[in-house]
């Protein structure tokens, strides 16, 4: 029994509409919900635009100033005489990221076992470790850097510690997720063969989780090169100090060179780390689960 399009009359449509109202249009309640959300969102946006001065003359003035003072004077990059010095400092930045990531990984490794449900019997201990890690993670790198600059003084050490602390939090989360997802059978095998606690971890757990952990660590190293390049803004070492200094002194062309250098370094590290991670985990098309946990 087939119905031809030409046979359907307006009356048929009306009848169907009466029978299945929800197939034709959202219910009044849904519609109200929709308009309430969109209306509210629009009002709030307009209020914000007004509050922060987007409708003022100062905004247009700022836009033209941004065009004439900032964008126009960024190019062409200048200060190539300083390039060796900039590259040295960029090297320091990458070294900071490396040390910070490594320290974070070292701190997080034992904690991540405490934070895994399948490794720690005591619920409060496991839960407490997780929340502690969340706490470390919830302050931005720059906030920790600000604290460490006050405590241990200006310089890369403060930046390393800032990265190490945040990374401890991130790695406890990532590592313990990897540990919780492991295949129990391999551990059972070690137990059946009479392995003790340490052997269970060495031969049952580590072979399964280590590639994942290494891959996550590399990914965060990549991410931390970006973070390390701005920590200098609060005096915690690295190229951010030079960049902020040049920008504040209106040396925009040199700042442009530094920005280009940062972008290049970030790309180079991304490429290296991606190649290494592909070797570790194999499947390169797989999306990193850590994307969820970090800021990009």
């Amino acid at each position: 029994m087939s119905v031809r399009l030409a046979d359907i009359t307006a009356a048929d449509i009306a009848a169907e509409r009466a029978r299945f109202p929800r197939a034709f249009a959202p219910t009044p309640r849904e519609r109200m919900h929709f308009w309430f959300l969109w209306g509210g969102g629009t009002m709030l946006t307009l209020y914000c635009l007004y509050r922060f001065g987007f409708f003022s003359a100062g905004f247009l003035h700022g836009v033209s100033k941004f065009g004439s003072v900032v964008v126009a004077q960024l190019f062409p990059p200048k200060g190539f005489a300083n390039l060796p010095m900039f590259m040295m400092v960029m090297g320091e930045t990458i070294a900071m990221a490396f040390m910070g990531t490594l320290l974070g990984a070292v701190f997080a490794f034992p904690l991540s076992f405490l934070a895994s449900r399948n490794m720690t019997r005591s619920r409060p201990l496991q839960f407490g470790t997780r929340r502690f890690a969340d706490l470390l993670r919830s302050f931005d790198y720059l906030i920790w850097a600000l604290i460490f600059v006050r405590a241990i003084g200006l310089g890369p050490l403060a930046g390393i510690m800032a990265i190490a602390i945040v990374e401890t939090g991130t790695f406890v989360k990532l590592y313990s997720e990897a540990i919780e997802n492991l295949d129990r059978k391999q551990v059972d095998g070690v137990i059946a063969a009479g392995g003790d606690g340490l052997q269970r971890i060495r031969f049952g757990v580590l072979p399964q989780v280590l590639p994942m952990m290494l891959s996550n660590t590399l990914y965060m190293f990549e991410h931390n090169v970006r973070s390390a390049s701005i920590l200098g803004i609060v005096g915690a070492g690295g190229i951010g100090f030079l960049l902020a200094d040049r920008l504040r002194a209106y040396e925009l062309q040199e700042a442009c060179l530094i920005i280009l250098l940062i972008i290049l370094a970030v790309y180079a590290i991304d490429y290296l780390s991606k190649t290494l991670r592909e070797r570790l985990i194999g499947d390169h098309r797989r999306r990193e689960p850590v994307d969820d946990a970090v800021q990009t």
Binding site: G53, V70, E92, M99, F139, P156, L157, R226, L243
Partner: protein, 298 residues
């Protein structure tokens, strides 16, 4: 890791000696690799420690000062005088709450603007939707620059043009958001089914109609979940752009640290961490309930 390589092929099955030899060779190879990796890692470690002037002595000397600092963040609070002490600690709560509201609104506005612009640009940055390869390539590079330059660096530049205040921070976070959302949305766009587009095209639809009726219905759920996630990240960003004068609670925090008002620093940090944790929880709830896991998983 690759245990399969050690298994001898079918020809040598049954020959125990051959297996032993192959296994030994495999072990040797693994050991050499492990040694090389270990050596390379050690070289990197030493080089990094030297370049970053990683000094254990300074670190150990600094640690007590760090704990001192952390102790000073919280003033003495007695149980008997709890209310009074808290009021003393949060003496400037009115201004801080105002800054916090400002921070949240900054993040909100930057997310809205950045998502709107980035979402629009993402249609040109998706290989399957861009009309010309050149447009696609240029748009990819533009988005890349927008997100590779950290938002605090954008903030430094916008502060030059717009002066000190939240406006510079909003614009900085907006630019970063455009880059991030543009890339993520473009990836979502590239994963859609082309059939609805063909349908609209066959019915004589314009490019805008293709986007509206064929693309948007497929991508909106993913857009939404990325946007909530971005809002969460932007709240974090909005708390720190104040360090370079771009408004928000970061400004209060930065000046409190500079002026060594330790208990103020502690009070503001507590406000920040409470806010960020609350936003995390809310955003997760919203992502899971309103949008549903199914649409996120596809």
């Amino acid at each position: 890791m690759k245990e399969a390589e050690a298994v001898p092929n079918s020809k040598s099955r049954g020959s125990g000696a051959r297996f032993e030899a192959q296994y030994a060779a495999y072990r040797r190879e693994k050991r050499i690799y492990a040694f090389l990796f270990g050596a390379a890692f050690l070289v990197c470690l030493v080089a990094a420690a030297i370049t970053a002037k990683f000094d254990v002595v300074t670190l150990i000397r600094g640690l007590p000062r760090t704990t001192d600092f952390l102790e000073k963040l919280v003033p003495p609070i007695g149980l008997a005088t709890f209310a009074h002490d808290m009021r003393e600690w949060y003496w400037d709560i009115g201004r801080w709450m105002d800054s916090l509201l400002s921070t949240l609104l900054m993040a909100f506005l930057a997310t809205v603007l950045g998502t709107a612009i980035g979402g629009f640009l993402s249609f040109f940055a998706a290989r399957n939707l861009a009309k010309q390869y050149l447009v696609y390539w240029v748009m990819q590079r533009v988005l890349e620059i927008a997100r590779t330059v950290p938002d605090i660096v954008w903030a430094l530049m916008f502060v030059i043009a717009f002066g000190i205040g939240p406006l510079a921070g909003i614009l900085a976070i907006t630019v970063h958001t455009i880059g991030a959302q543009g890339k993520l949305f473009a990836e979502v766009n590239e994963n859609i089914s082309p059939l609805p587009i063909d349908g609209i095209r066959a019915a004589g639809g314009t490019w805008f109609q293709e986007i509206r009726f064929a693309v948007l219905p497929q991508v909106i759920p993913n857009y939404m979940s990325y946007t909530f996630w971005r809002l969460e990240l932007n709240v974090r960003s909005a708390t720190i752009v104040g360090f370079v004068g771009a408004g928000g609670i970061g400004h209060d925090l930065f000046s409190a640290v500079q002026l060594l008002y330790f208990s103020d620093v502690g009070a503001i940090l507590l406000i920040v961490v409470a806010t960020i944790m609350l936003i995390d929880v809310l955003s997760e709830m919203f992502r899971h309930s309103a949008i549903g896991k199914a649409s996120f998983a596809q």
